[in-house]
């Protein structure tokens, strides 16, 4: 026994018990008071602040997950698929969730292999601004096997996402890059203008061509899923779901066969071909050479690749057909002639003696003929308007232009689309330059001199146009003055473009009689068909393309000076730098009396319009009217040829 429990009781035990009871009671009151505090706290949280906490708890576990709509498909007029969607697996990284990014990249490299390009492109994308928690793409085209390897090693690859996505694919590669355009990954700057709700999970948007112009129609409406997530963001269930509605499919006026023919006709030369169906304004072919593979913009170019495209002297990213500004040269002469008729300054009989040199009264400057040579002034002899057109007489039009009031010619030319964008749905189409007195005062701070009109009368000076504008001029003449604005879209989901977006453009070139148009068409037919007439009497393009032609083609050549040749100096093509040589133009339409195709062909620094651009026009129109197809009969791209179900359109060939 360590101790005797019987200890001395100092005071009366009952008194002690009472004292303890009193104390215990006080403490119980304290206990009850503190319980009341807890109770009050619970009432405060659960009754008074209930709504607020209820909302916070809802926000915690409810999430809206957007579902990307399927982008609309793009077809040509014959049902060939020009832009489709392909499912691919890609690896992306949510960098915010990764502890050691370098280590993760090393691990992934060991597992699935990363190319140097993929790594550098990824590091570049990481540096760029993006939405918080956005996946940064690393590698596309992942095989199911590689996916399995990554999944097995998931525990050490936190933040690595493998997701199937539907990406744009352009089966014709380079062929339609400038016509259809392409999509690109959405950048930080893009987000400023985009509807945040519609584009919440969209990764690509149209950046060029039809893809850009019809972005809103092609995109579709996203769907949304209301899901329950746990604290780790892992989905535990679904409350509701609203399906995405796919984008609208587009059918273009483009004709892939014709596009191929035009591309082949241009060959490796820098230039453009634009073909229009005059009655509808439908753009049948829109070629700009050189081109690029739009699929590269989908998979993502590395910075050096992109820089190379930008820096190339051939400028493959420039859409020459719609954005290239060039002096139209002699293709402008029919407009000057029609202006002279409309302004009553000439008629079809009046003649002019073109002996090579033209001077304005009291001026020393000499305006020369295109066949001027040192010691031989050239010229086309005595010509009326028709002869002036098929011989492309500079003198006649110098003289006609010199009689026009200031600004009369630009005002008339504007009706043909000069200085304006007539096309309805060509993204970023350029208006070119149509100089007049206001323009010159603003741009140069100089008044308009009579010599400016003289220069403009042969399509030189400050006048600049795009191949699309020149093709539009051909289309307007083919329509005998009726203006049908060019457009890419033929129909969408079975509804004609004319219904979707009615044409509001003014419809007719003013001031000319029906016979004036017919005579101008005749003169332009002579350019190609009038032959065996002797020296200075044949159509200027006859020798090049008119000898064996089987249909009536009306056209006008143009050879535009690129650099100013000082007065009296010899112009020696061979001595000029390649990029300073003359541009070759040819605009035409066929058949002349009921045209189904109007087009322009342009070769940058190509040389003579009739000899260089003329044969291109001939080849394209041959293909269209005579069905002279290039060697490959089937335009279906090889990658899809074997896979019939993916290309229902292939049946149309």
């Amino acid at each position: 026994m360590p101790r005797n429990p019987k200890t001395p009781q100092p005071i009366d035990p009952e008194q002690l018990r009472q004292a303890f009871a009193k104390r215990a009671f006080v403490l119980f009151v304290v206990v009850a008071g503190l319980f009341s505090v807890l109770g009050a706290r619970l009432v405060w949280l659960m009754i008074v602040q209930y709504e607020e906490y209820r909302t916070q708890s809802e926000d915690n576990h409810r999430q809206t997950v957007p579902m990307v709509p399927v982008r609309g498909l793009i077809y040509d007029r014959n049902g060939h698929l020009l832009a489709d969607n392909q499912p691919i697996l890609s690896i992306a990284i949510v960098t915010e969730l990764v502890g050691d990014l370098d280590q993760t990249l090393l691990d992934l490299d060991a597992l699935v292999g990363l190319s140097a390009d993929e790594r550098s492109a990824f590091k570049d994308r990481v540096r760029r601004k993006r939405r918080p928690l956005e996946e940064v793409p690393l590698k596309t085209g992942v095989t199911p096997g590689q996916r399995a390897i990554v999944e097995i090693n998931r525990h050490r690859l936190h933040g690595v996402v493998i997701s199937p996505e539907s990406v744009r694919h352009y089966p014709f590669d380079e062929l339609l890059a400038h016509a259809v355009g392409s999509v690109r990954r959405i950048s930080e700057e893009d987000l400023i203008d985009l509807d945040a709700r519609r584009y919440r999970s969209t990764r690509f948007m149209g950046k060029r061509g039809v893809e850009a112009f019809y972005e809103q129609s092609l995109h579709g409406e996203p769907g949304f899923r209301q899901v329950e997530v746990d604290v780790y963001g892992v989905e535990r269930g679904e409350f509701s779901r609203q399906r995405p509605s796919p984008g609208h499919d587009l059918v273009l006026h483009l004709d892939v066969d014709l596009q191929i023919a035009a591309t082949r006709a241009l060959g490796s030369r820098r230039g453009a071909v634009v073909a229009i169906e005059p009655k509808t304004g439908g753009i049948l072919a829109l070629v700009s050479n050189p081109s690029y593979d739009p699929n590269l913009f989908v998979s993502g170019l590395t910075p050096p690749q992109y820089q190379a495209l930008l820096d190339s002297r051939d400028r493959p990213l420039l859409n020459r057909a719609t954005d290239g500004r060039y002096a139209p040269g002699s293709t402008f002469k029919p407009i000057v002639g029609l202006a002279g008729l409309a302004l009553d300054l000439t008629d079809w009989e009046r003649t002019y003696a073109d002996y090579g040199e033209f001077r304005l009264p009291n001026q020393r400057r000499v305006y020369r003929s295109w066949n001027w040579q040192p010691g031989q002034p050239g010229g086309q002899g005595i010509v009326n308007l028709r002869q002036a057109v098929f011989r492309s007489s500079n003198g006649y039009f110098y003289n006609l232009g010199s009689q026009m009031e200031v600004d009369a010619l630009p005002e008339f030319a504007a009706q043909f689309g000069y200085g304006r964008v007539l096309s309805l749905d060509v993204a970023d189409a350029d208006a070119g330059v149509l100089p007049d007195s206001d323009w010159k005062r603003g741009e140069r701070g100089e008044p308009w001199y009579p010599g400016d009109t003289v220069n403009m009368a042969i399509g030189q000076g400050d006048l600049l146009a795009t191949p699309l504008q020149v093709a539009t001029v051909a289309s307007i003449i083919a329509n005998r003055g009726l203006l049908v604005p060019p457009r890419m879209l033929k129909s969408s989901d079975g509804v004609l473009a004319e219904t979707l977006a009615p044409n509001t453009q003014p419809g007719r070139v003013e001031g000319l009689a029906e016979t004036d148009w017919e005579q101008m068409v005749d003169a332009m037919e002579d350019v190609i068909h009038l032959g065996n007439q002797g020296y200075l009497r044949n159509g200027i393009a006859w020798a090049h393309i008119g000898r064996d032609i089987g249909y009536r083609l009306a056209g006008k050549s143009g050879t535009a000076q690129v650099v100013e040749i000082p007065q009296g100096e010899e112009y020696d093509e061979e001595l000029l730098d390649e990029y300073s040589r003359k541009h070759a133009w040819f605009m035409a339409f066929a058949p002349a009396d009921d045209p189904v195709i109007a087009l322009s062909a342009f070769v940058e620094n190509g040389g003579g319009g009739s000899s260089v651009a003329g044969p291109i026009v001939r080849e394209v129109v041959d293909a269209y009217l005579l069905g002279k197809r290039p060697e490959t009969e089937d335009p279906t791209p090889p990658a899809l040829a074997s896979d019939a179900p993916l290309t229902p359109a292939a049946a149309g060939t």
């Binding site: 035990p13 004292a19 303890f20 807890l38 746990d230």
Partner: protein, 373 residues
């Protein structure tokens, strides 16, 4: 001596009460404790994801109840006799922890002695300290004065000082609190209690110097929870959302999104009252509070009715320790106190505190039912 349970009971209940009293158990306390434990198991079942957790907890609670029944059979004189010995053994074990304790989750609290299961010596001090202080005071003058008071306070502080650096501030305070409760119950003057309280507040800045970073963070978070809602403030922010979103009737058992989707941390252990609030609402939480209040009221009453000073002091102090658990836990989870690792008695998952607390009530029952010594 008059029977002390003179409140009206249904006839059958009165019989059951008498029969239980004969085996040294108290009907009211037993029913209330079992009700709390059952309530806890019900809630634990909704938040436990692995199988076997509820079964395991049932076994632990069963063992704890068995310990209570066994300890209720021992005579109070046995406790009086063994109090100093258990205290000294516990103290030496605490020193042993400092030397060769087992570390887990950053704290060194456990001993792994050969032939024994791993255990936590600080846990037994929750019982040993009140017993030892009551033994000391009981031997001398009541209320304690001068030297005796200093020794009594020393008996509280020494083990607390050994536990604090493990680090385990919660247990350290509960151990010291159990002993100090004895001193307060022994009748020292209220102004001394107030002065001691004031001195502790004054000493708080000094105490700050001895805290670990994680302990300082907890206090900083408590003082300014919005400062870092995703870091240290996360737990308390989520538990307040859980409780508040429960409303009057709760979202239903198993329907709490905070609890079931892991937004609420430690949902089966320290923060389980937030699950009660979210899924059973204010009604459920108040019911649980009421059960705790019944336990405390009944146990204090039993303490008062003890014939010996030792018995009164021990039973009263153990009851106040139980209250401290309940209050600190709920106040902490609802954002009234900084986060300290104190479980909710008999409801939080885990066996240690259940065994200690029910063992304590075993002693209370023993003191209440053994009157002839």
């Amino acid at each position: 001596m008059a029977r002390d349970f003179h409140y009206t009971l249904p006839a059958g209940t009165a019989l059951a009460q008498r029969r239980l009293y004969n085996v040294h158990l108290d009907l009211t306390l037993l029913v209330a404790l079992i009700a709390i434990a059952a309530f806890g198991l019900l809630v634990l079942d909704t938040v436990s994801e692995q199988a076997g957790i509820v079964t395991g907890q049932m076994i632990r609670v069963g063992l704890a109840l068995a310990a209570m029944v066994v300890l209720a059979q021992l005579e109070p004189r046995t406790y009086l006799r063994w109090a100093p010995i258990v205290y000294l053994v516990g103290l030496s074990l605490l020193v042993l922890v400092l030397v060769l304790g087992v570390t887990a989750k950053g704290s060194t609290r456990w001993l792994d002695l050969p032939g024994l299961p791993r255990f936590q010596p600080s846990e037994m001090m929750k019982l040993a300290v009140p017993l030892a202080v009551a033994w000391y005071i009981h031997e001398r003058s009541v209320p304690p004065r001068g030297r005796h008071l200093l020794v009594a306070v020393g008996l509280c502080i020494v083990p607390a000082a050994l536990i604090a650096p493990q680090p385990d501030l919660g247990t350290s305070l509960l151990v010291a609190g159990g002993g100090l409760a004895v001193i307060v119950l022994a009748g020292i003057r209220w102004w001394l209690v107030a002065a001691a309280g004031g001195a502790m507040v004054a000493a708080a800045p000094v105490l700050w110097l001895f805290l670990n970073d994680y302990q300082r963070n907890r206090i900083l978070t408590f003082l300014n929870p919005e400062q870092d809602p995703l870091g240290h403030g996360w737990n308390i922010a989520q538990s307040k959302i859980a409780i508040g979103s429960g409303g009057l009737f709760g979202k239903g058992l198993g329907e709490g999104t905070q609890s079931q989707l892991d937004f609420l941390p430690e949902s089966s252990t320290d923060f389980i009252i937030a699950v009660v609030g979210e899924e059973l609402g204010l009604v459920g939480a108040m019911l649980l509070l009421a059960l705790y209040l019944v336990v405390i009221a009944r146990a204090l009453f039993m303490a008062t009715s003890s014939p010996t000073t030792f018995g009164r002091l021990v039973a009263g102090a153990l009851t106040l320790v139980f209250f401290a658990y309940v209050f600190v836990n709920i106040a902490m989870v609802s954002g009234l106190l900084p986060v300290v690792g104190v479980p909710l008695p008999l409801v939080s998952y885990g066996g240690t505190s259940a065994i200690t607390l029910l063992a304590g009530f075993g002693i209370v029952m023993s003191i209440h039912s053994h009157r002839g010594w």
